[in-house]
């Protein structure tokens, strides 16, 4: 029953549709296609550290309902309005909440970028703003002054945004410019490239000796497990004993759940490399500043879910991949909803440019949660399609590696006292 959500949803959808009255049937559908993805199809992506701006924000600070909290003292000297929409600061309230959505132009620009590209971008913007501001010295005539003043509020707005996000970026940098983070990301690279996966073993062991948070440790272990197609008995036993002895007996149940979810198991069929190569999950030479491929979201790893959706944008769709689908857990289902003849539209070709008249809209539904990085990857895809395809993403939950595993981790036992 675990891996069948997408199929069940598809079945229910088709069944409900059969019963629609005829007048509803002639309403033209909004979406050209709907892609239902079960989380089980790709368990590795959420385990990896997200390297997009928004993804990192979520991992390190937690983005809840499009909002993020920081300690207010870092943001001192900010006036109201612009990027940080915050009510009057109470002296006792030490946190600052920032709304994170694309209504702020600057955030819309940076949220999907790889983190390492954001710093330079903010710097360049700051420079431009400074220059624009300096223009006031050059404005001599009334007309020029008037022009400048009209730009002023716009410039002010950007300045405030810029200041907010520069501070946020600095806070993020603080958290990631340490060997812990760097080593971890480097280990993850080894894992998803399936190059010398066992090298991660002593690293994880040491993490446990240092009593790192369990979610961090489990992420790496489960990632290693997926990339190795399951553990050999020795490793399997070693890890579970260490986990219980370090973190507590209650994790006997955590391990049970991980096993059921397919995240922690013994060796099974060797599918990872096949999928990795066929779907081009790993990519060499990633350009983080100016990416040409969606694998930049993890600096060299493309989420399988994003790649599957990417197939839809190509004319051959999923042809030729049926073999591959056998390796991906869960049934694959392809359904065509018959359209009422009156609304079957032809996608007209605009003669000169060779593009389609109306962009097609694809609804991507994640059943079981998705990460910000996956969303950024899809946005990147849409961008690359140059207005021909756009995506709308629906998900049962927004998650990151930690929140994902925390749903499986057993809470500590109740004790006397």
């Amino acid at each position: 029953p675990l891996f069948r959500s997408a199929k069940r949803v598809a079945d229910i959808m088709m069944r409900l549709r059969k019963d629609l009255p005829k007048d509803v049937e002639t309403v033209a559908p909004e979406f050209d296609s709907v892609v239902l993805l079960d989380r089980n199809v790709d368990l590795l992506s959420p385990l990896l550290t997200q390297l997009t701006y928004e993804g990192l924000l979520d991992e390190l600070f937690g983005v809840e309902n499009g909002r993020c909290k920081f300690s207010a003292d870092k943001f001192s000297g900010q006036s109201e309005g612009g990027g940080g929409r915050v009510p009057q600061q109470q002296p006792e309230n030490p946190t600052k909440t920032i709304m994170l959505n694309s209504s702020d132009d600057l955030y819309a620009e940076i949220r999907d970028l790889n983190f390492y590209a954001v710093g330079p971008l903010l710097n360049a913007k700051a420079k431009r703003i400074r220059e624009a501001f300096e223009e006031r010295h050059g404005a001599k005539t009334v007309g020029q002054i008037k022009q400048f003043v009209s730009k002023l509020s716009h410039i002010q707005g950007i300045r405030i945004s810029l200041s907010t996000y520069t501070t946020v970026t600095a806070l993020l940098k603080e958290k990631i410019e340490n060997s812990e983070f760097i080593d971890r990301v480097s280990m993850e690279q080894d894992v998803f490239r399936a190059v010398d996966v066992d090298r991660i073993h002593p690293f994880v062991e040491q993490l446990m000796c240092m009593r790192a948070p369990l979610a961090n440790v489990l992420r790496l272990i489960c990632a290693q497990c997926t990339a190795s197609n399951g553990f050999k008995q020795k490793v399997y036993d070693f890890y579970r004993k260490e986990i219980i002895q370090t973190y507590g007996y209650e994790h006997l149940r955590t391990l049970e759940r991980l096993e059921e979810a397919g995240l922690y198991r013994l060796q099974g069929p060797k599918v990872y490399n096949t999928i990795r190569k066929t779907m081009r999950l790993t990519v060499e030479d990633v350009n983080e500043q100016n990416p040409n491929d969606l694998s930049y979201v993890h600096s060299g790893y493309a989420p399988l879910t994003a790649r599957l959706v990417q197939c839809l944008t190509k004319p051959e769709k999923w042809r030729g991949l049926e073999e591959l689908f056998k390796y991906i857990p869960g049934p694959t289902v392809d359904r065509l909803q018959e359209l009422h003849p009156s609304i079957q539209k032809r996608r007209g070709l605009v003669p000169q440019s060779g593009t389609y008249e109306n962009p097609r809209l694809i609804l991507v539904v994640f059943l079981g949660g998705c990460t910000f990085a996956e969303i950024s990857a899809l946005r990147f895809l849409a961008q690359q399609e140059e207005g021909q395809t756009d995506f709308i993403v629906a998900t049962t939950k927004l998650l990151n590696g930690n929140t994902f595993l925390e749903t499986l981790i057993e809470p500590p036992p109740l004790c006397p006292m």
Binding site: P1, K22, K241, Q245, T246, Y249, E250, R253, E256, L414
Partner: protein, 447 residues
């Protein structure tokens, strides 16, 4: 009609009609007549009048004449809205059909308009002229919901009351007729069937009902609980399944109920969840019955974690360990056994030292003992056969936490460390800002 046919009538309609008659006779007078009307700008009116007259006529041949006349007139009009004309044709067709002696509803146009199409259809249904009703609905463009589907539904109900046909055949007949139509509530038909006492027919009909939320309550009312369960499961609606399971729990005998639960994984799982929320003991029984020892053991583990009292914990853990052993899960059995021993120690330590120990992991327990410098740590180490490497890590961390840097340095310099000197540095360095300068002392030890 009078206006048109009355002798010597000067109404535009009459003139048009005459014009048409002349036209048929291929006489030039037609043109004359048309001009008369045209000049008086009454052509539109004329056409309308003819149409209305056609509506009022009861005799089809006259209707046709009048309609042709109006059609003839139409040709000379530039912008005439033909809808009126078309509607009238349709309506007349329908009315003529029902005026037919076989149906014998002599309705006049006025009566019809007052009565509305929907009512007419109802009347036809009441008289059981289903086929005609269907055709009229379709022809007159009634929406499916109001028209065809309703008729079919009534027809089906009627059929149900008929005794002649066997249940199964009837179900098939009905479903084949109804399969194309949308929006039919099979549930209503099924209810009718139940009223007539034809239970098996009702059940079969319910199979065709696409909306499970409707199917299931009826099935439950009919006390067809296993069917209801099956349908609920098919629908994928957990609320429904819960509802059925609850009902079954109430109304069925214990044993029968438990057996029914075992028939379906989904029902069983949901029932398990219900028990998990309310009745853990029952949960254990269920697993026992299903011979799922490992799962039962898991419940015992859960119960031990949730019980605050140590005695209760130990009791559940004993059960768990035995179950794991029988199920040949040696790892789980060993871990559980270890936990039992550990809890014993922890209880003793709490009593002796007055500090929390129960519920901590093995290494955490050791960590805290080492911070206090308690000799019991060594005892615990040997009993649980903790590896030397691990133990050293624990010692380093504990000493750092206790800020006993001198002892730590002594340990580091002793050169007995199975893990080298790097951990010394690393642990101190990572311990926090205040200790970074202490860490410097350990740098010198690194190779």
């Amino acid at each position: 009609v009078e206006d048109v046919f009355a002798i010597g009538s000067e109404h535009p309609g009459a003139v048009l009609f005459d014009a048409y008659k002349e036209f048929e006779r291929k006489s030039a007078k037609a043109d004359e007549y048309i001009r008369i009307i045209r000049d008086g700008k009454k052509l539109g009116e004329a056409v309308d009048q003819c149409i209305a007259a056609a509506g009022a006529e009861l005799e089809p041949s006259y209707q046709r004449l009048l309609l042709r006349a109006s059609s003839f007139g139409k040709c000379f009009l530039d912008d005439f809205d033909s809808r009126h004309f078309v509607d009238m044709c349709h309506t007349l067709r329908a009315l003529n059909a029902i005026r037919d002696y076989r149906i014998a509803i002599p309705l006049t146009m006025v009566q019809f308009e007052k009565m509305t199409l929907a009512t007419l259809v109802d009347r036809l249904i009441l008289r059981r002229h289903y086929a005609l009703a269907m055709r009229i609905c379709k022809y007159m463009g009634l929406s499916e919901m109001e028209g065809e589907s309703r008729v079919l539904a009534h027809w089906a109900c009627y059929k149900v009351e008929q005794r002649g046909i066997d249940d199964h055949d009837l179900a098939r007949q009905i479903s084949s007729k109804l399969s194309d139509a949308r929006g039919i509530s099979y549930t209503d038909i099924a209810e009718k069937a139940t009223e007539c006492g034809r239970r098996s027919l009702a059940i079969e009909l319910l199979n065709y009902e696409p909306k499970a939320e409707k199917q299931v309550p009826i099935l439950m009312k009919m006390n067809e609980l296993s069917h209801a369960l099956q349908k609920a499961i098919e629908s994928g609606d957990t609320e429904l399944v819960y509802a059925v399971v609850l009902r079954m729990n109430e109304s069925m005998a214990r044993r029968d109920f438990l057996m029914a639960m075992q028939q379906s994984d989904i029902a069983f799982d949901l029932y398990l969840q219900m028990c998990r929320a309310k009745d853990r003991e029952q949960l254990k029984n269920l697993y026992e019955m299903a011979d799922k020892k490992v799962k039962k053991a898991s419940v015992c583990v859960e119960l031990s974690l949730r019980s605050p009292k140590v005695e209760d914990k130990l009791e559940e853990l004993d059960q768990a360990r035995d179950l794991y052993s029988i199920a040949k899960r040696s790892f789980e059995a060993k871990m559980t056994e270890d936990e039992i021993k550990l809890l014993d120690h922890q209880k003793m330590l709490e009593t002796k030292l007055g500090v929390k120990y129960v519920g901590l992991s093995l290494y955490e327990t050791l960590h805290r003992l080492l911070i206090r410098g308690s000799p019991f740590a060594e005892k615990l180490k040997s009993q649980f056969k903790v590896a030397d490497k691990r133990y050293w890590w624990l010692r380093i961390r504990a000493l750092t936490a206790a800020k006993k840097y001198n002892e730590l340095m002594v340990l580091a310099k002793s050169k007995k460390s199975p893990i080298g000197c790097e951990p010394f540095f690393q642990v101190v360095y990572d311990n926090g800002e205040g200790d970074v300068h202490e860490a410097k002392h350990f740098v010198g030890l690194l190779p």
